[in-house]
Amino acid sequence: MASVTTESERRNLSRAPAVEVENVVRRFGDVEALARVSLTVRQGEFFSLLGPSGCGKTTLLRIIGGLDVADEGTVRIGGVDMRAIPAHKRPVNTVFQSYALFPHLTVRDNVAFGLRMKRVAPVEIARRVAAVMEMVEIAELADRKPAQLSGGQKQRVALARAIVNEPQVLLLDEPLGALDLKLRKQLQVELLSLQRRLGITFIYVTHDQEEALVMSDRIAVMRAGRIEQMGDAEALYERPRNRFVGQFLGSVNLIDATVKRREGDDLWVETEVGTLRVSANGQTSPAAQQSKFTLAIRPEKVSMFPATEGVGENRFRVRVEELIYIGSETHYLLRAGSLTLRAEVMNVRVGSQGFDLGQEAMVYLPPGGLIILDD
């Protein structure tokens, strides 16, 4: 009977989310580093905490790992409450920003450290350490000391040292932050394929929006101890909830709007460039119910036409104030009255793209590309 309960319990636990954070508060003196943060990370997910420095993302990671303690709230890992469980007994491992490799130990002994602490049999340790070092391609560095490694090699050792323990969740604190761009791009791909192969849940802290977009299944954008928005890369990029999220992930044009008329899913708003139709289909912002709000549109959603075409719905005349030709695209800074607008146009036509500095053009803002922001 008892074994049946245990079995069903275990099945329940295996279905539990990898990590659940509920109403976590952390204060440093008068500053709330985390103000009632809640989130759920699914099993096997690549989850990123994205935000500027000081937003609380690293503090949250440390609380999940047990290296810091929440003042309020709970953290569950695999369905188990972690409040009373110290860092060294949690089923998680961390890759530190500074790598934190033990300087007095060889690469092999660094990687074996966690298994030795768990008193795994030496034969088993040797086998697993060798396998993991092979996997992250550091086998030939086994007898070196950390001081004899390059940044990229240290990063791989730090990764090997963590994953050899087969944690339920791997916590990564800006693991690529200290590397140059080229190496970072290469390791992003490797890290992602490693995560897919191992099936370990990753929680990844970064301030690099592109890195988060490229790698994550889901992203939580944080600011000042709060989660501003959570979702997959596309949802965050296409439907940012507010200015902060919109501007942190890529760039946006902002347009102040006053509602004139509502009809079904459509809104007609008055702006600096005249009346615009906004498709509210799929827009969840509570601001859509207000009479005034800010609209956002991504620069690549702005279409440009020759000035000879007529004015129509969501079409208006602009002047090219600045242009940056970058080969595959041209970036324009456009002016319409008091409004400046960024447009990014793919250079799909053969030959000249047709818009010169100081020239007039027509732009079209698609009703579905106009995003209603909360603030």
Partner: protein, 267 residues
């Protein structure tokens, strides 16, 4: 950028070295002088060194010196290491005041320290009858001035350590005990050894504190040399001094080597 050193700078540097090392060089050179009562050079000899080996009084003093330095360094290293660790890793009421007080034995003149020790031992002897002046009191006095040196060196080493090393150990399943012995302590070792060598050298060379806290039968080399010199400098004293200089040089060289960080090779 490496600037050329001009001739006047060479001269100043040379004078500085002469100023610092000429007296020591004279002692070392004269320890090989065949002349019996100092004076002008009378040929090379190692007789004075050979004679030291036959001098039971000097051999006993050398033995006392090394027992004193060895025992006091061992005790001061253990206590000083714990103190340095505590000061860098824990918070307690009055920590700042205590950290500051730790420097007092370092900056206080030896003579004040020596007189204070003498008075202290005298008082304790009156109350509980212990601490007859001798080897024990000398060892205790040396431990007293050695502890802060060890603690300061060890603490400096710990403060320079990446705090995430200990966190990484915890994260990888090490409890506090394992973290200390597997990660923190190995990082402290160079600091501990450097502190110990410093303490050993200080004890070896100490005259003032030893002179005030010693008793009958516990003569150390510095005390013996002082007593002998009052009767005139003899060549065997030169030889003895040269040996002490050699021991001190080895000690300080060891400290320097241990405090040097391992070179970075990777790139």
């Amino acid at each position: 950028m490496r600037r050329r050193i001009s001739a006047p700078m060479w001269l100043v540097a040379a004078l500085l070295y002469v100023f610092m090392y000429a007296p020591i060089a004279v002692v070392v050179v004269y320890s090989f002088n065949a002349a019996k009562h100092g004076g002008p050079w009378a040929g090379f000899t190692t007789e004075w060194y050979a004679r030291l080996l036959d001098d039971e009084l000097k051999k006993q003093a050398a033995l006392n010196t090394f027992i004193l330095a060895g025992v006091s360094t061992a005790v001061a290293t253990v206590i000083g290491t714990m103190l340095g660790y505590g000061l860098s890793r824990y918070w307690f009421p009055g920590k700042r005041l205590f950290s500051w007080l730790m420097y007092i034995p370092v900056v206080i003149p030896d003579i004040v320290m020596a007189v204070a020790m003498l008075m202290f031992f005298g008082l304790v002897r009156e109350w509980i009858g212990l601490f007859e002046l001798g080897m024990t009191t000398m060892i205790i006095a040396h431990i007293t001035f050695q502890i802060p040196f060890v603690a300061i060196v060890v603490r400096a080493r710990l403060i320079g350590l990446d705090p995430s090393l200990e966190e990484a150990a915890h994260d990888l399943g090490a409890n506090s005990w394992q973290t200390f012995w597997q990660v923190t302590f190995p990082q402290m070792v160079p600091g501990i050894l450097a502190g110990a060598m410093l303490a050993f050298t200080l004890s070896l060379d100490d005259f003032v504190v030893s002179f005030f806290t010693t008793g009958p039968g516990a003569t150390t080399l510095p005390i013996l040399i002082y007593a002998s010199v009052k009767r005139g400098v003899t060549p065997d004293i030169n030889a003895l001094s040269a040996l002490i200089v050699a021991a001190s040089v080895v000690g300080t060289l060891g400290v320097t080597l241990l405090q040097r960080q391992p070179h970075k090779i990777g790139g």
